[in-house]
């Protein structure tokens, strides 16, 4: 009798472990979904669907720095308290989505100005979670001629920029500050912890083209003295350090060879 109970208990334990593992496993996003952010700071309260923001289109047109430094979007999900009033005043989404700014010869549609009543059709352009909204720019057509990447959006954005196929703007009139171009900082190597794993060659140049300085320092990288910060892949996968960008938006961490590039001696 006790053997039967023990057997039943172990079977139950095994089933619940399997369920827990399945529930914890995250589905890898499809290329158009990679970098997607859902913003719901105030939408649900205003009885609007949350905003679905796709990084791929925006990153092809603007540098990370422009939006996360000049426009003021936080790097953490939900970290920016965007309200319709801010957009209408020309801040956050409204800095570009004002019905006036021209991008590739097309006016950028105006952000949602709804405060009460039924949402206007323009609101649903962004407040689209759970809605069937046809995007103005189709992912497949947009990325068809861009250099291929193995993961993420399936696009090698770095190569796309190098070859001039995308030209992200780094200045927004009335928002950005006119400044000198960035002084070149040295690239450096970070030792890998596993034997046989190539060291990382960190390219300051590649990163500063899109990010400037203050996007990463000191908010993401506090210590710059060699060896001052001990980086670990566990923390990076949890979204710290490189993981702030390279988990959900920039090429993902499973693309090991993009960073671990120094030939093993």
């Amino acid at each position: 009798m006790s053997r039967v109970v023990a057997l039943l208990l172990s079977a139950l334990a095994l089933t619940s472990t399997a369920h827990a593992q399945q529930a914890g496993k995250k589905r890898r996003p499809l290329p158009p979904e990679f970098g997607r952010v859902v913003m719901d700071n105030h939408s649900s309260q205003a009885k609007l669907p949350p905003v679905v923001f796709d990084h791929w289109l925006h990153r092809a047109k603007f540098t990370c720095r422009l939006c996360h430094v000049d426009v003021g979007f936080a790097m953490k999900p939900g970290g920016t308290d965007v309200k319709a009033a801010d957009n209408m005043a020309g801040y956050y989404c409204g800095a570009c989505h004002n019905g006036k700014l021209l991008v590739d010869g097309r006016k950028v549609f105006e952000s949602c100005a709804r405060t009460t009543g039924e949402p206007r059709p323009t609101c649903l352009r962004c407040h689209s979670q759970g809605k069937e909204v046809k995007p103005q720019v189709d992912f497949a057509s947009f990325t068809r001629n861009l250099p291929k990447g193995r993961f993420g959006n399936g696009v090698d954005w770095e190569k796309a920029e190098e070859t001039g196929l995308v030209k992200p703007a780094d200045f927004l009139e009335g928002i950005s500050i006119k400044r000198k171009s960035i002084s070149a900082q040295k690239d450096f190597a970070l030792g890998a912890k596993l034997q046989g794993m190539p060291d990382i060659i960190f390219s300051h140049q590649k990163h500063t083209v899109w990010n400037g300085c203050e996007l990463c320092h000191p908010e993401i990288f506090v210590g710059v003295k060699k060896g001052a910060t001990k980086y670990s892949m566990v923390e990076i996968f949890e979204g710290k350090y490189c993981g702030v960008c390279h988990v959900n938006v920039a090429f993902p961490l499973i693309d090991c060879q993009r960073c671990h590039t120094k030939p093993v001696q």
Partner: protein, 107 residues
């Protein structure tokens, strides 16, 4: 007579507050000017050097930090949207200058 005294008092008060560009009444002018539209000019100037922060001298960095600190209370008084955006922007630029200063000061 009473009218003249009131007018004189009003002029003196305005000059003291820096509302009028009277010679000798300039002590409070920079503060007042900063409190109005010039905050943006000052912000643009202070934060325009972030790209070149590593090349700045320690003195220049300290001076930029002081200017950031002076600008902060002015930005905190702006209307909500501007305040949110520029508080974050100013903080990011101040943090960078502080970071570069500390990095360079430490052996």
């Amino acid at each position: 007579m009473r009218w003249a005294r009131t007018a004189l008092f009003a002029l003196a008060a305005a000059a003291a507050l820096g509302a009028l560009d009277l010679p000798g009444g300039g002590a409070s002018l920079p503060v007042r000017a900063l409190a109005q539209q010039d905050w943006r000019k000052e912000f643009d100037d202070v934060c325009s050097k972030t790209q070149d922060a590593m090349a700045l001298s320690l003195e220049e960095l300290r001076s930029l930090l002081a200017r950031c600190d002076k600008l902060k209370p002015v930005i905190e008084k702006l209307e909500e949207s501007q305040r949110k955006v520029f508080t974050r922007r100013l903080q990011a630029c101040r943090d960078l200058y502080q970071f570069v200063l500390e990095t360079r000061e430490k052996p």
